[in-house]
Amino acid sequence: MIVKVVAYGIARDILKSADCSIDLKEATTIAGLKEVLLQQYPDFSKLASLRFAVGEEYQTDSYTLVAGQEVVIIPPVSGG
């Protein structure tokens, strides 16, 4: 299945793009997506934290993705 990955901040620099499509096995979780990303873009492992959002909400590792979903990579925030 294809999910769309959107990236902000340093995640966009690592991805070298503001978004991309990733082909995953059915029922892949956020944890599974993270593994794929770390394999393809090892620089993600250097970040202080790596969170993911779906539907404008943070999701935990066990969240199961479905085809066509948009997942936003949230690197360490630094607002304020």
Partner: protein
């Protein structure tokens, strides 16, 4: 929800506008936090900063903080204005104002709001130096 004013924009923050929202005749005290852009990081001169956000989620997360504040403390109103775009040294990046009948609630709630904002709200700050740029807090 009544009593909440959340804004994210690419223009100067006018502090008295933020505070004006929270003022209420029943409240004796207003506590405000103003976050400014500092002049140097590790003794390197910062030329400018660029703030970006995942806007709809940033607003949602700021609204959550405001709702938590109104639920947890005897607070009348809260306003959070965050700026994005290009900021210069001395510019205001964020203003949080809280009004409450009793000042202790206003202090605790305002501190909770800025502490939580810095942990959860998807806003990113890039420092631009003469010789490069750094996403703040990205690396351990």
């Amino acid at each position: 929800m009544e009593g909440i004013d959340i804004q994210l924009y690419d223009r100067k923050i006018i502090e008295r506008e933020v505070e004006a929202f929270v003022y209420d005749p029943s409240c004796g005290g207003i506590v405000s936090f103003v976050g400014k852009v500092r002049d140097a990081t590790q003794n390197k001169q910062v030329l400018r900063l660029e703030f970006e956000s995942y806007e709809p989620m940033a607003i949602k997360e700021m609204r959550k903080i405001a709702q938590q504040v109104l639920e947890r403390w005897s607070v009348k109103k809260i306003a959070i204005h965050h700026r994005i775009g290009v900021l210069q040294i001395e510019d205001t990046a964020v203003v949080i104002s809280v009004s409450a009948p009793h000042r202790k609630d206003a202090f605790v709630a305002c501190q909770y709001a800025i502490d939580t904002l810095k942990e959860t709200v998807p806003i990113w700050k890039k420092e631009i130096f003469e010789d490069g740029e750094v996403w703040v807090a990205a690396h351990p």
